[in-house]
């Protein structure tokens, strides 16, 4: 630690401004996911000496000769004992270009809820396939989760290329099949990369074995993929979190509405409507954590002040007055059930969307979806943990809910058990794969999916 520091390191480390990418990986140990994650952490020099020593020590105690990089990511005792991953683990690493938050999720079908959790905040998803097996049922499930959660960027990592002699034709066939499938689900962008996580080909450094491939390595792609989309494309939404009223001698009349801008851009002078009350006013000031600004955008946390003294409280949503936002008590949504207690029609629940929590009732569960082939099962009667399905809800109060397809932030909600507070279900308002053409022939019933 006492080594001399060159001035370049000093300068860049202290002043570097980098962006943040949240991404998720889906795949099983068999696909080499842990090896890929371990290699990304290791080769980007994010695994520190004491962590590596701990892994080596644990590996030796279990009789393994080489350090098992999967132990870097399997944290809980139960997981180590059973050699499985049961939960979403968050990993942090950085390169000079970018900071990364990796949601590392298990791939098996009984862990769909973990994959959904990891994908919910991801801007990019890495789907792994084994080059020897190509696109299999699990791959289609992972693609469907990424599409359902509207992860903007999907990377297909075709792993174990060393075991198929680094053949371009093998890669191209898998990449084509996957891209066609993902595109049909409405995934806006697929990048396919041939890799060998074990050998290190195209993970951090370019492969010496695949000169037919001229694209980026996995890390290069993670470092350069564009993560900021233009917020001016989105309608502005401001869920009020908290009303700031100092009532001090210095600020006797200050009344600020604190919140994180969920989507779009807000400007001083904008005419806004308060939902669900329908009152209107004009933004007179925006405080960006101590700095007065004229413009603010998602996902900044700000405090707004308005021209009029209105009755606004936590849970209200401010939106531009010209927005087509119509609060409704009837919600149709695609959900992933998370809890071990099944969700049934008639269930009384709490629905939490943005900063608002209201009572709701499950009116109907019209269908359940099999992710692997997108086949539907009408009237399933219930949804059990890891099921994806369609639900119809009635809420006690009108909610200013956006279609999830338009806003991941104000179109997403949780169902909560009012008796013990458990999180039951994750919901996405509106249609599941709204942009896609019908990808597969299914025996759709009348209340089927709008592909």
């Amino acid at each position: 630690m006492t080594g001399t520091l060159d001035s370049e390191a000093l300068g860049t480390a202290a002043t570097a401004t980098t962006s943040l990418l949240r991404f998720a990986t889906a795949g099983s140990v068999d696909d080499g996911k842990s090896t890929l994650v371990g290699r990304l952490l290791h080769d980007s020099k994010s695994v520190l000496t004491d962590q590596l020593e701990a892994v080596s020590r644990a590996s030796r105690e279990r009789g393994q000769e080489a350090p098992d990089l999967a132990l870097l990511t399997d944290g809980l005792r139960a997981e180590r004992e059973q050699g499985i991953t049961i939960d979403v683990a968050y990993r942090y690493f950085a390169t000079p270009k970018r900071r990364f938050i990796l949601a590392d999720t298990p791939g098996h079908v009984q862990y769909t809820r973990n994959m959904v959790t990891g994908a919910s905040t991801a801007e990019l998803a890495v789907v792994l396939v084994d080059a020897r097996n190509g696109v299999v049922e699990q791959t289609r499930r992972h693609a469907a989760v990424a599409a359902l959660l509207r992860v903007p960027h999907v990377v297909l990592a075709v792993n174990k290329m060393d075991l198929v002699d680094y053949q371009e034709s093998v890669f191209a066939a898998i990449a084509d099949a996957f891209s066609a499938y993902a595109t049909s689900l409405g995934v806006p962008e697929v990048t396919a990369i041939p890799i060998s996580a074990l050998e290190g080909d195209n993970v951090v450094d370019a492969s010496a074995h695949m000169d037919w491939y001229s694209g980026p390595t996995v890390l290069e792609h993670l470092e350069t993929v564009q993560v900021t989309h233009d917020p001016t494309d989105d309608a502005a939404r401001f869920p009020v979190q908290y009303v700031i009223r100092p009532q001090t001698a210095e600020h006797p009349d200050y009344r600020g509405y604190a919140g994180q801008i969920a989507s779009g851009v807000l400007r001083v002078g904008d005419r806004v409507t308060v939902h669900p009350s329908g009152q209107t006013s004009t933004i007179t000031a925006i405080d960006n954590l101590g700095q007065a600004v004229a413009t603010a955008w998602a996902p900044q946390s700000v405090t707004l002040r308005l021209a009029d003294d209105l009755d606004i409280s936590r849970g209200d949503v401010l939106a531009p007055s010209e927005a087509d936002l119509v609060p409704s008590q009837d919600v149709t949504a695609t959900v992933c059930h998370l809890h071990d207690t099944p969700l049934v029609p008639g269930a009384r629940v709490l629905l939490k969307v943005a900063t608002r929590t209201v009572k709701a009732r499950v009116e109907d569960i019209p269908s359940r979806l099999t992710l692997a082939d997108l086949s539907q099962h009408p009237a399933p009667g219930q949804l059990v943990a890891n099921d994806i399905g369609r639900v119809v809800l009635r809420t006690a109060e009108p909610l200013p809910l956006d279609p999830y397809a338009r806003s991941r932030r104000t179109g997403s909600f949780l169902l909560v058990d009012p008796s013990d507070g458990s999180t039951l279900t994750a919901g996405m308002a509106g249609d599941a794969f709204a942009d896609a053409d019908s990808p597969v022939a299914t025996a759709a019933d009348d209340e089927g999916w709008d592909f």
Partner: protein, 311 residues
């Protein structure tokens, strides 16, 4: 598909947020969620850099109003004087309410017994839980970060604790999007970790950007230390050094600040925040690995302590 696409630099986008802006906005969002949904939150405040950062973010989140909750310090009695002084100054200058749970009082009363190794870190759990219960705190902010330790990598931002303060990894609620579920039964409480997604480097970069003052022991200084278990410990009333442990003067700084008996200093000449950042950027050890004896107890040391209600 196999051709590289030219992507414009992220910084060309006028709406791009730096990673520090993104982390700051997320943490402020978490503070405001808690203020909106809980009755009696409290910030665990040790005077260490992570708790100082939490206080800074809370001040920003509610300005120009004061922070709508107080601080809780679990005082092991083995404090660095510089840190206590910092704590008292922060409380006074921001008009905050400070609650103190004293490990020493428990030892004096005979409810807790001093350990043979003299470390008091594991003794903090009971005073912490009783202070939470006595103060009827329903949300307790902690400075824990997921990058610190494996058992923390799966920790939620809102972490539910039962009426005994226990943490059951299997009872933790899935956390999706930015929707935090803080519902709890009477007697239960929720630990809230607004710095979950920060790394040690982020913390220091943000401290530099915001010009946040820290206790001086975070920067290189000359100090009398002795070596134990590969760490430099400071002599003090807590019981070091023992026979055979030789005290020497070295240029050191602290990467973490906890109980004096188990928080080690590292050799360092980083006497400014910029030098500290550069030092961390090239360091090959995690901060806990370098400086915490308590985490070396076993592979699952942190997991076990968390289950019992530790921070």
């Amino acid at each position: 598909m196999t051709t590289a696409v030219t992507v414009p630099e992220e910084t060309d986008n006028p709406f791009a947020l730096s990673h520090l802006d993104a982390l700051e906005s997320e943490a402020v969002h978490i503070f405001r969620e808690v203020a909106g949904e809980f009755e009696r939150p409290v910030i665990l405040f040790s005077g260490g850099k992570d708790s100082i950062l939490m206080l800074h973010l809370a001040l920003k989140a509610f300005a120009p109003a004061p922070v709508p909750f107080g601080l809780l310090h679990v005082d092991t009695g083995h404090n660095f004087p510089e840190v206590l002084e910092y704590r008292d100054r922060a409380v006074a200058s921001n008009g905050l309410r400070l609650h103190v749970a004293s490990v020493q009082e428990y030892i004096d009363a005979g409810t807790l017994r001093e350990r043979p190794d003299g470390t008091r870190n594991p003794l903090q759990t009971v005073p912490l839980l009783e202070a939470i219960s006595a103060g009827r705190f329903d949300a307790v902010f902690g400075g824990g970060r997921r990058d610190e330790e494996k058992a923390r990598a799966k920790e939620r931002v809102f972490s539910l604790r039962d009426e005994f303060g226990g943490w059951d990894p299997r009872r933790q609620r899935p956390e999706l999007w930015q929707l935090y579920n803080g519902r709890h039964a009477p007697g239960e409480h929720v630990r809230v970790f607004p710095l979950s997604n920060w790394t040690e480097l982020d913390v220091w970069q943000y401290i530099a950007r915001e010009k946040i003052e820290l206790p001086a022991i975070y920067y290189a200084h000359e100090r009398e230390v002795f070596s134990r278990s590969g760490m430099w410990l400071a002599p003090g009333e807590w019981g070091g050094p023992k026979d055979g442990e030789r005290v020497e003067r070295r240029q050191v700084r602290y990467r973490t600040v906890g109980d004096m008996s188990c928080t080690g200093a590292v050799d360092s000449d980083a006497d400014t925040v910029e030098k500290v950042i550069a030092e961390i950027a090239v360091s090959r050890l995690t901060e806990r690995g370098a400086t915490r004896a308590d985490d070396k107890l076993s592979e699952a040391a942190m997991e076990d302590r968390k289950r019992e209600g530790y921070f």
